[in-house]
């Protein structure tokens, strides 16, 4: 077999143990990521409960169409990632590359939509630190909302960007024929990371875009 050295490294008893060790390590990392984002969600919870009215006003300034479409786009991306893992498991090399390319395409689309949203907020004068000219109801706490919005979506977008890099490397390795049905752990591990990125957005979307739609 061509990838004997990759298929089983000598410290492991068998390929199953090796794969379980990798998955275990990735989940440990993802747990730390849960706490990383968790701190920010905690901060959000505190300030939203202290200033619910200002958060409602600020939330309705976000573009729901852009938010909704980017949510759907990211879910599509996650689905293609899952399909890439499936293709790897059944040994379809070209399908892995194709699905990873689709995953990357939708990830880039997500970033483009998010950037245009940020740009619109900037032009509306609601970007703290750069252009904040909002002077209507409760500007201080509206500013707090947008500070949290840009911190959390920004941190998320940086994860998406890193993910695109990881996906590109994995697609290249798949194209080179590194992966076999016996050894495709990197595809699966990158998949775990990518689904985690989707997971964070699943919470960001309702908590930022859907706070106060019923009030208008």
């Amino acid at each position: 077999m061509a990838n004997q050295s990759l298929a089983l490294r000598h410290q492991f008893d068998d390929v199953v143990q090796q794969k379980d060790a990798s998955t275990f390590g990735m989940w440990l990392f993802l747990s730390t990521e849960v706490l990383f984002f968790g701190g920010m969600f905690c901060c959000y919870t505190v300030y939203r409960s202290l200033y619910p009215a200002a958060f409602g006003i600020a939330s309705n300034h976000l573009n729901l169409v852009l938010g909704g479409v980017s949510t759907a786009v990211l879910i599509c991306s996650s689905f293609f990632m899952a399909c890439a893992v499936n293709s790897a498991a059944i040994g379809k090399k070209n399908a892995i590359v194709g699905y990873l390319a689709l995953t990357i395409l939708f990830a880039v689309a997500f970033l483009v939509i998010e950037m245009s949203e940020w740009h619109m907020i900037y032009q509306e004068g609601m970007m703290p630190g750069f252009n904040f000219t909002y002077r209507e109801l409760d500007p201080r706490h509206v500013q707090l909302f947008f500070s949290l919005y840009f911190s959390m979506t920004g941190l998320h977008a940086s994860h998406v960007t890193i993910g695109i890099g990881l996906l590109a490397v994995t697609a290249f390795r798949a194209w080179r024929g590194t992966f076999t049905p016996e050894y495709y752990t990197p595809v699966e591990i990158v998949g775990l990371y990518w689904h985690f990125v989707d997971l964070v957005w699943i919470f960001l979307f309702p908590l930022y875009y859907l706070i106060a739609r019923h009030l208008h």
């Binding site: 379980d20 905690c42 919470f203 979307f205 009030l215």
Partner: protein, 99 residues
């Protein structure tokens, strides 16, 4: 053991449910449910994330050790939220300045 191969059909089903739930949460947000709006939004988000974790991330078929890591991560997250929020929400309960 992670040798279970999830089929594209299974993934497609989860994918469909995720899209429907996204539409549902957007639609429900336009209905005035008072304080329940945030509860409904979070319940739908939790259901969606469970679908992603269990099926897209294969935790449903993974080892007990892995499931333990997932549960431990969530336990630490709830500690983080619980201890911070009990502090924030109980301020002003005692008639001492600054408490």
């Amino acid at each position: 053991m992670s040798e279970h191969i999830v089929t594209k059909k299974q993934y497609s089903l989860v994918f469909g449910i995720l899209l429907v739930l996204t539409l549902t949460t957007t639609w429900v947000s336009y209905i005035d449910l008072g304080k329940l709006n945030v509860v409904v939004a979070l319940v739908i988000a939790v259901v969606k994330s469970m679908l992603v974790v269990l099926f897209f991330m294969h935790v449903y078929w993974s080892t007990k050790l892995n499931k333990l890591v997932v549960v431990a991560g969530l336990a630490w997250l709830s500690l983080l939220l619980w201890l911070t929020l009990t502090d924030i929400f109980t301020r002003g309960w005692l008639p001492f300045p600054g408490k």
